[in-house]
Symmetry: C2
Subunit: 68 residues, 2 copies
C-alpha cells in the first residue's frame, strides 16, 4: 500500500514528530505508515487523513493486490 502522507505532510510544513503528536501516535508509527510498512487500523487512517486535511481514499493508495 502506497500513501501520500509524506507529500501532504511536506505541503503542510510539519515534521513526522508533529504529525504523530497531532494524530496521537508515536513518530515511528508515522515512519512505517509513510513507507507502507503496515496496514493501519481504519480509525488511525481516518485521523491521519483528517489531520492532513484530506480523505482516506486520497491519502492511502490501494493496489490490485489489496483486493486479492
Amino acid at each position: 500500500m502506497k500513501t501520500r502522507i509524506r507529500e501532504l505532510r511536506a505541503k503542510m510544513g510539519i515534521t513526522q514528530e508533529e504529525l504523530a503528536q497531532q494524530v496521537g501516535v508515536r513518530r515511528e508509527t508515522i515512519v512505517f505508515l509513510e513507507k507502507g510498512k503496515y496496514n493501519p487500523s481504519l480509525k488511525l487512517a481516518y485521523k491521519v487523513a483528517r489531520t492532513l486535511g484530506s480523505t482516506i481514499e486520497e491519502v492511502f493508495i490501494f493496489e490490485e493486490e489489496d483486493l486479492a
Copy 2:
C-alpha cells in the same frame, strides 16, 4: 464506529456468509463489523466497501470520538 454494512448488504440481497466469502474473511468478522465491535484494518475496510459497491467513507461512519 457505525457502519452501513447491513443496509448495503441487504440492498445487494446477500447474506453475511456470502459477503464474508467475497471479502475473504469469516462470517463472525462480518457480524462484528456490522455491530461496530471492532476497528478493522484499512485493507479490510477497503475490501468490504468495494464488495458493497461503495467507498470506505460511505460505508464506515466516523464520529467525534474517532478523532480524540
